[in-house]
């Protein structure tokens, strides 16, 4: 009889942690034969991740209640993430704290609509414009007494101005547009010591091309000299403040309501159009859209890019908000709202957990996100991921639009069949809406 005792001898460094704050080391054998069916198991995980994503999809965060009329315009604070400014149709401007969801300050700014709000570069003044043909400048800090707040500076314009934009370049300037004359006016803060920071009463410059009124305009956030405006007569006009003349005019089939510039790609902008679609353009090639984004079932009113430049959010008359990836034509639908007097806060990714995540939690989220991405093309995963309960109106409209599109397509193919070959040219969807360029 022989006894052979095999003793496991291990180096403590391999399994003991150095401090009690370290995690325990778990040796693992990654031999693939020990972990079979990897694709199948990962598929199941992906499916579960997709389902969980839908289960935890709770995008609504809260509402900012306080306006007594519809909200007309909103503005972000340039230096504070938790501050939001909003102006309503009854001439009130409210300053909100997003963290507490409370109204911090209320200004009775204008008679009639408040059309535009902006905060100056140094965060000293709030500027508002309204339908009452005035531009008002307010101090950033609320007044000490409870009296009615008065603006520090009021400029009475000759025409009713509708929008104001603060351009954060080296030399600060404000621009506002007028409804009737089709002009964009450029104002400068005074350099005078006494009235430093106040806007001068007279515009230093105006930009114009054509007489039709201007719908909206946006500055390029990267190349801050370039701006784009949309006019009522379905043009998009590009300007450069360094040049004497405007740059170019693009005509689309229907009116463009707003444009938004990509904050990470200087020459890319997206136009929200009345034809339910959005068009992303390269500023240098206006004869063809880079991408056509379609999912809305009514005119798109507004568009804005996320600060990362990877996505943009759109609002439409169909009472829905959608988020589009910059390079894709299909969107994520997040919500629908009614035009009451609330401001609502939503999460961009519905199932995301807010706040700082634990390291392991974070890695799990990353893994499940990657899995969903990896198996995105599998029918079940796609089905679950895309499934949404939309309002009845949107559902029916979508159906109708789909039918219209197919019928149009059918008609075109029929026409092509019954005509001389190549007599009816094939126009790609990216060029369909473009009427022309004006030099």
């Amino acid at each position: 009889m022989n006894i052979k005792v095999k003793v496991l001898s291990r180096n403590p460094d391999d399994y003991l942690r150095e401090t009690k704050h370290d995690i325990h080391r778990l040796p693992r054998n990654y031999d693939p034969t020990l972990h079979p069916f990897e694709a199948n198991r990962e598929y199941t995980r992906a499916l579960n991740a997709t389902k969980l994503d839908r289960i935890f999809a709770k995008p609504f965060l809260g509402a900012l209640d306080g306006h007594s009329d519809s909200v007309q315009c909103m503005s972000k604070h340039p230096k504070s993430l938790s501050t939001l400014l909003s102006g309503s149709c009854d001439g009130q401007v409210k300053v909100w704290n997003l963290a507490t969801r409370k109204c911090v300050r209320t200004l009775n700014a204008h008679r009639g609509f408040v059309r535009g709000i902006t905060v100056d570069r140094n965060c000293e003044y709030i500027l508002t414009v309204g339908n009452d043909q005035t531009i008002k400048q307010w101090g950033m800090e609320p007044a000490a007494s409870r009296e009615l707040e008065e603006p520090v500076n009021t400029i009475i314009g000759k025409v009713s101005t509708v929008d104001i934009v603060n351009v954060t370049t080296k030399s600060q300037r404000y621009l506002h547009r007028s409804i009737t004359t089709g002009r964009i006016l450029c104002m400068l803060p005074a350099a005078n010591r006494l009235t430093s920071g106040y806007i001068k009463a007279d515009p230093v410059r105006s930009f114009t091309w054509g007489t039709d009124s201007i719908q909206s305009f946006k500055f390029n956030p990267v190349e801050t000299n370039i701006l784009a405006s949309c006019t009522q007569d379905r043009h998009i006009v590009l300007y450069d403040t360094r040049e004497v003349t405007p740059l170019r005019k693009l005509t689309l089939a229907m009116r463009t309501n707003t444009v938004a510039w990509n904050p990470m790609e200087a020459f890319i902008f997206t136009a929200a159009n009345e034809d339910y679609q959005l068009y992303t353009f390269d500023m240098r090639r206006l004869d063809e859209a880079i991408c056509v984004h379609r999912d809305h079932v009514s005119a798109v009113i507004d568009v804005d890019y996320s600060p990362t430049g990877k996505e943009f959010v759109t609002g439409s008359f169909d009472k829905s908000i959608r988020i589009f990836p910059t390079t894709e034509s299909r969107s994520r639908y997040i919500l629908c709202g009614s035009d009451e007097m609330n401001i609502r806060i939503w999460k961009a990714s519905a199932s995301e957990k807010l706040g700082k995540l634990d390291k392991r939690e974070e890695s799990t989220v990353e893994y499940s996100n990657k899995l969903r991405e990896k198996f995105a093309h599998h029918p079940q995963v796609r089905r679950i991921a895309r499934h949404r309960h939309v309002p009845r109106s949107i559902y029916h409209e979508t159906k109708i639009i789909k039918e219209q599109l197919t019928s149009r397509k059918r008609k075109e193919t029929n026409r092509r069949k019954n005509n001389k070959p190549e007599s009816i040219p094939v126009v790609p969807i990216k060029k369909k809406a473009i009427v022309g360029e004006v030099e």
């Binding site: 694709a39 990470m264 600060p307 990657k370 030099e439």
Partner: protein
Amino acid sequence: MVSLQKEAVMNSSEEELSEDEEEVADDGRHIKLLTAMSKMSGKGRGKSQLRSEPGAVSEFGLSTAGEGVVEVRNLLNSLQKNQDQVFLKKQLKSIVSKKKTLDIPLYSHEAEKIQRTVAYKKVSKDIGKWDQVVKTNRKVEHMSFPLNQAKIGLQSTEDFAQRFKPTTPLEEEIYKLLNGNKYAETKDKELTRAEEEVLSAMSLEEAQIRRAELQKSRALQSYYESKCKRQKRIKSKKYHRIKRKGKAKEEVKRMEEMMKTDPEAAAEELTKMEKIRAEERMNLRHKNTGKWAKGMMRFGKYSLEARQKIADQLDENRVLTQKIAEVVEDEDGRAGDADRVRAVPLSLSDVNNPWFTGKVQTDEEKKRGGSDGTDGAREAGKEFSRPKAVEAEAVDDSENEENAPGVKKDELDGELERLRSKRKLRSEEAQRIRRNGETSENMSSEEDEEEDEEEDGAEGLANELEEGRKEEEREDKKGRVQDDALGVGLIDEETTRKNTEEDFESITEMEEVTPSERLQEEEGKEEKEQTTRREGEKSSREEANVDPSKVFTLKPKNVITVAPDLVVEGDGMQESDHLMNIQQAFEDDDVIDEFKAEKEAAIEKGKPKPVDLTLPGWGSWGGTGVKPSKKKKRFIRQAPPAAPRKDDGLHHVIINEDRDRKISLHQVRDLPYPFSSVEQFQGSIRAPIGDTWNTPSAVAKLTKPSYSTKLGTIIEPIQEEVLKKGANKRRNRPKPDIELDGPKSKRVKSRKIKDKRQNRGNERKATVE
């Protein structure tokens, strides 16, 4: 011109008047006056001059005759072709060609259009500076926002090394050694500067040879290093023991060599050995008094191995303490040889031991060995450490030798010999198994039996025969069970060890006939009768419940199991009982028939059916009692024969070739966009990204999102600094050497600047003073 001429005329007439106031000219004057008057009045004015001037043109009057207006080009023609004059010509021409009037200005809208086009082009070109940044940002795998985050975290050694500037004199010295020195190795170059210099000093061929040598030596060095590392890492004690033994052997050989070639060195070695011997004698290291040895002695009663180990140790002690004989150089060197051989440690694990060298001496060799004096001595020296089993073998061997010439003997003798050889076989096998560390109680007990047999081996032949028969039977059973359990016999029995390839080939041929069968063939008739009777009984018992027709023909599989022959001891009865139980348990279920029917049904179902294209009521009469017409056959279309089933050759499975609908719901039908081939897509799906299959770092890399944002930060639009950074990077990239020479040159520069500053300072001082 006309008026000029007129004046001239007038002047001339006046002059004439003043010059001579004589009447002679009166008539003439009058006529002149008249003509002038006539000219002044009315139509005659524009008419050509009447006056003509003969001879050369004076400087006061210009001839207008013939050509009229003189132009510049007419004058230029007369200029000669000197260089100066050519230049003058050009200048004059350019002056002449300039227009005096401007073009009509463009219409304002057209002018603006041009302006706008120019401006647009300019701006477009200017904004193109972002192209590169945008392109890289789109391609990059991970982006972290905000973009201009300050880098936090520990400084890596590389970073530190790059930024490091020697300050203290010691540091500077070290830095010089590391960087400026020509012997210092650099990252990107294979050779040091000194080596390069040497190479450049040589001719090309020499240099090449030298370099090759260097490379080779380096390679060899690295190979050797890696080999040493590898060997050092081997945990097997056995390996190290064998290696040690090998070294010892080499040492002995070397000694022998040395004896012949360099006796002085050998003598030194001998003194060393003497010293070792003295040390050994002084301590009790290899005695049986130690703790380990005592423990082993306790086990020794039960374990052969322990006994063996103690014996080994004592043996080592004996060897080490053995007095080394003074080497006396004989003419023959024979006696010395023998002594030296004795000096070699002798033990079970001896290199010369036939059981451990993997070589068994054949009979002939042994005979030779017997005649050889040295081998005999070795044999004698070994004997004390041999276990009994081996001894038994030796006895057998000697018997074999004795019996070999004896051809004509009676049957009993032959039988005996056969049995013996068999026993030897078993002992050999036991030996081998023991060496593999697979000893079992079973085996040892068997061995004990054998040993017992051996001890009273001198008893009557008949007795032995009786014993032998029993054993044979046992062996037969064992063989059968083994065959069943192992398929291919794990232990192949033979008298001689395989040494050459032919031997091994012969094994493979022989494998079909198991040793037991072979033995059976050889067996005498009487034995056969006996055994067959018993076996017949057994087989009839086994076959009682098995229907030979209901058996699948399966190909035998080579199942390699390490199942030892422990079951061997169990008698046949038990096994058959077990079989019986299984048979009884499944007596009522006719599984095989059921399965066959099921499979046939599946095949039938899978067969393509003929298509009936007949239209009822067409081309035939209907009603009761009407036979189906023959025409109907025309409308039945026979289906093409089905493709062969996958389970055609496999009798024991049914493979369902129909598509699984449940799975198809989950399958991707079309190739998704970014992939260009099905394989590519499949590959992407197959490669797992989870932590079940990947290391944490790999998972972190694989699951990294395409972009991430930092919580609670404002993400500003991209700034122009990015462009500058990118430009800097691009500029830096093609110069990897900058790291090497950078600090040096910088230092030089900074020194220069310092010098300049100092100079300036001095100047200032000077001026102040």
